[in-house]
Amino acid sequence: MSTIKQLHINGEKRTVAADSERSLLHVLREDLGMTGSKYGCGEGQCGACTVLINGQQTRSCITAVGDVAGKQITTIEGLEHNGHLHPLQEAFLETGAMQCGYCTAGMIMSGVALLNKNNNPTQQDIVTSMQGNVCRCGTYTRIMAAVQQAGKQMQKGVK
């Protein structure tokens, strides 16, 4: 078992000492104190742990940390810059697209991955891209509205 010593997270190099087989989610949460990504099922079935790996939405709970060494990891903590929120974070607030908020980080990361590829998604695009994310409180219609609203902002060049 090899040891991973460095990860590229949110544009920074972070020092770790983690067995390569450990889950990325646990390393983020337990070794680096980055608890924004959530454990929901540990099986890649709910999307609460979603992060971006080189821009692709990825379930960090079933991703071995050894597989992402050297790749660009983006977590929910990396979306806010100097107090400035990502358009999708703003849109979640404006549309009230949450209740308990436990799925929110994963939803936003999945939504950002989609919007980076397609900033004018239809409802069907969102369903296709985000079917793996569960909101048990049932705010799906609001989340779809938030993703589309953020897309409109991004079309105008808002970052």
Binding site: D19, E21, R22, S23, H26, R29, E30, D31, G33, T35, G36, S37, K38, Y39, G40, C41, G42, E43, Q45, C46, A48, T75, I76, E77, L79, E80, L85, Q89, F92, L93, G96, M98, Q99, C100, G101, Y102, C103, T104, A105, I108, I126, V127, M130, Q131, G132, N133, V134, C135, R136, C137, G138, T139, Y140, T141, R142, I143, M144
Partner: protein, 725 residues
């Protein structure tokens, strides 16, 4: 023929409903520990204490048998205080309540009502919630009680604080009190324009006021309450900064995991820990049948549990295949159907009679945040951060488990990743605390999804037998309704019927069961509102018309009519294999009606809910957007129980404990949801977290019948689609 009284009436119903089984369950583990005392005080400024209304006190006493005692011990909270409000010398307003935020947005709605009565901006107010050392005792956040009970208490406290601030200003400025006004967080003299904020007035004070009554602002004069104020902590959620229980970190903290028995009711016959004992940083903890490990991280903890070799003695147990027979067979008070009764006479005289049986499966709450706790012992005192709807109940569980006074236990509940009635118990808290005690370090324990699907409790399954009598013109003449096991909530019919017999029968339960959003109101509404639809079709009457013909309750009529109007009830369906259904009801002070449109795919039989229109009325609305969000969410969640969700089990094992095999609603299942709120400013606000879920399942079932002529009487109705002939 005499009119029969139903066996359960609203006035006779105990404060804790019978289906809250989880509150009466014995503790899983009991350990021993030593006793110490603890005291806590508030700082200077102005404190307003709210006395508990009698009704609440009675409810709390009723709960004592359930393990959630309010002995108080050395806790700071006096016994008859429901909440308190503190205006510090810095002018900050802090409100203390034992209620828990689980996504129902009470942190925001309670802030709003305080802001309203205090005449202060929302931003000045902080809610401290669910910390047993600093918030007053509260029996728990369930039963849609926060809005009808806690909200008025806080309104009174805030109104009394406003009056006290006027007194202070009048004294300090030596002016006529009637010339002073409180507005936007300041007291101002209307003549001299002299002004002071709350901090300037409370500086150097140590005032304590106790209130029982206060003049409250009527809803039609509200300025802050009644508005769609955004979620007060929304920003911390969207940035990932909010710390749920599982996010709490303590210095030196280890990660724990518990060895689960091979099946329910299994006992440990042998345990080999050799391999786990050799793992670096791992400690195996055994206390009776409790076996757990601690490790430097979760991955190692999982490996250590896998390395344990345990033999369990298991027993044969009922399976989901025989569930409904089992419930009927084990009914504790099935009565004597052969005995002559007035209801039998009513049926023999009925022009038409209809009998049908409805069933509901066991379902899981599946909160996205599974049970989680961080436990820390310090000088014999235990502090636990955990997600629960009953912080004081969990404090009691911990005190019981370790044989220590409640004064030695502090339970802190961070705003929690939902509950839906599923987090009334403190299993993870007890387990984390036992491990932490063994290793002398803080321990975090997060249940896996499989553990949450297996070792939490379930919404009770049930069988409901309905017999009805009706005249040819569509007048209900007799109604008999027997609910086996699922529960008594929402069992009363709102329809006018001269002869009725309505009974809830307890049975043996093959699984650990307990509260769920709306309790049995979902099952009882499903049976009743499906049956009403069947009657309407039998009589060739429009289902809405048939309901209204037998309904006097003006509030229920209003929501049915409003939903039908918005939905376009009676209009032509857009395509073949589409159907319309309607259902309604009332529970916990809320009135709901849902119209659903479904589309059935042929030949697969897959059901898609295309559109759902729900009208909800719960008195005066405190936050319209958050209320809409609750109604939308309840609709969405209800679609799961209606169509796909069912716990499967055999021989003491849950056989589908994964999201891949337990189908919760996802994006593709979302219909167009329209919510119509009827804002009754003339009525006190009722809670809204539960009741909006009760009408969606029968509305969908009725729409399926309308679409393809198939009547589905079992929840979930179509886990594999509708069987079409």
């Amino acid at each position: 023929m005499s009119k029969l009284q139903p066996s359960i009436t609203a006035s006779q119903r105990p404060p804790i409903e019978p289906e809250r089984y989880e509150l009466y369950a014995p503790p899983t583990y009991q350990f021993t520990l030593v006793r110490r005392d603890f005291f806590k005080v508030l700082g200077g400024g102005l404190v307003v204490l709210c006395l508990l209304p009698d009704t609440l006190t009675q409810g709390a006493e009723a709960q004592e048998s359930g393990g959630g005692r309010r002995r108080g011990g050395g806790n700071a909270a006096p016994q008859d205080i429901g909440a308190w409000l503190h205006i510090g010398e810095d002018g900050q307003v802090t409100v203390y309540t034992g209620k828990v935020e689980v996504g129902q947005n009470i942190r925001t709605s309670l802030t709003q009502v305080v802001a309203e009565e205090l005449h202060a901006p929302v931003s000045l107010i902080t809610m401290v919630m669910a910390d047993t050392d600093v918030t007053p005792y509260d029996m728990g956040t369930f039963g849609s009680r926060t809005t009808p009970t806690m909200s008025p208490q806080l309104r009174k406290a805030a109104a009394a604080a406003r009056e006290a601030l006027l007194d202070l200003a009048a004294q300090q400025w030596q002016v006529e009190r009637s010339l002073l006004v409180v507005s936007n967080g300041k007291v101002t003299h209307s003549g001299t324009q002299q002004t002071a904020n709350f901090g300037q007035l409370t500086k150097g004070q140590q005032l304590v006021k106790t209130i029982e009554a206060a003049d409250l602002t009527p809803a039609d004069h509200w300025k802050v309450a009644g508005q769609s104020v955004p979620k007060v902590d929304g920003r911390s959620i969207v940035t990932g900064k909010h710390q749920f229980a599982a996010d709490v970190q303590r210095p030196g903290m280890l990660y724990g995991k518990v060895l689960r028995p091979a099946a329910f009711n299994a006992t440990l016959s042998s345990l080999d820990t050799k391999q786990a004992d050799t793992m670096a940083g791992v400690k195996v903890v055994r206390d009776g049948d409790f076996v757990g490990v601690t490790a430097p991280n979760s991955d190692v903890a999982e490996n250590a549990i896998d390395a344990l070799k345990a033999d369990w003695k298991t027993t044969s147990q009922p399976s989901s295949a025989e569930l409904f027979d089992y419930l009927k067979k084990t009914a504790k008070d099935a009565g004597n159907p052969a005995a002559p009764s007035p209801i039998a006479d009513a049926f023999s005289g009925a022009e038409k009679k209809l009998e049908a049986t409805y069933t509901v499966a066991y379902i899981a709450h599946a909160p996205l945040e599974p049970r989680a706790a961080v436990a820390e012992w310090s000088d014999g005192k235990l502090t636990v951060w955990t997600g629960t709807q009953r912080p004081f109940g969990v404090r009691g569980e911990l005190a019981n488990a370790f044989g220590i006074p409640e004064s030695q236990v502090r339970v802190i509940v961070p705003d929690t990743g939902s509950g839906y009635g599923g987090k009334h118990t403190g299993e993870a808290a007890v387990e984390a605390a036992r491990l932490a005690k063994a290793v002398g370090k803080p321990v975090k324990l997060v249940w896996t999804r499989e553990e949450e699907f297996t070792w939490a409790y379930f919404r009770p399954a049930g069988v409901i037998d309905v017999t009805s009598g009706v005249s040819h013109d569509g007048t209900l003449t007799a109604w008999e309704f027997h609910n086996y096991n699922s529960g008594g909530s929402g069992i009363e019919t709102p329809y006018e019927v001269p002869h009725k017999k309505i009974e809830f029968h307890q049975t043996q339960a093959p699984l650990r069961q307990g509260s769920y959003r709306g309790l049995a109101a979902t099952a009882n509404h499903f049976a009743r509102e499906s049956h009403m639809d069947e009657l309407a079709h039998t009589l060739n009457l429009d289902p809405l018309e048939f309901r209204l013909k037998n309904l006097k309750d003006a509030r229920l009529r209003a929501v049915l009519e409003a939903a039908a109007s918005r939905f376009g009830w009676g209009k032509t369906k857009p395509a073949a294999n589409h159907g319309f259904g309607i259902a309604g009801g009332n529970e916990k002070g809320g009135y709901v009606a849902t119209c659903a449109e479904v589309a059935i795919d042929r030949p697969s039989g897959r059901v898609k809910v295309v559109r759902a229109v729900t009208t909800f009325e719960c008195g005066a609305v405190i936050n319209p957007d958050h209320l809409k969000n609750q109604v939308e969410g309840a609709t969405m969640m209800g679609i799961g129980g209606a169509l796909t969700e069912a716990i499967e089990f055999a021989d003491g094992k849950i056989t589908n404990p994964h999201f891949a095999r337990y189908r919760v609603p996802r994006f593709a299942d979302a219909p167009t949801i329209e919510v119509v709120l009827l804002d009754r400013k003339d009525l006190p606000p009722a809670g809204a977290g539960e009741t909006p879920i009760v009408a969606i399942a029968p509305a969908i079932g009725n729409a399926i019948f309308d679409a393809v002529g198939v009547r589905l009487r079992s929840l979930p109705m179509a886990p594999k689609g509708v069987k079409l002939t």
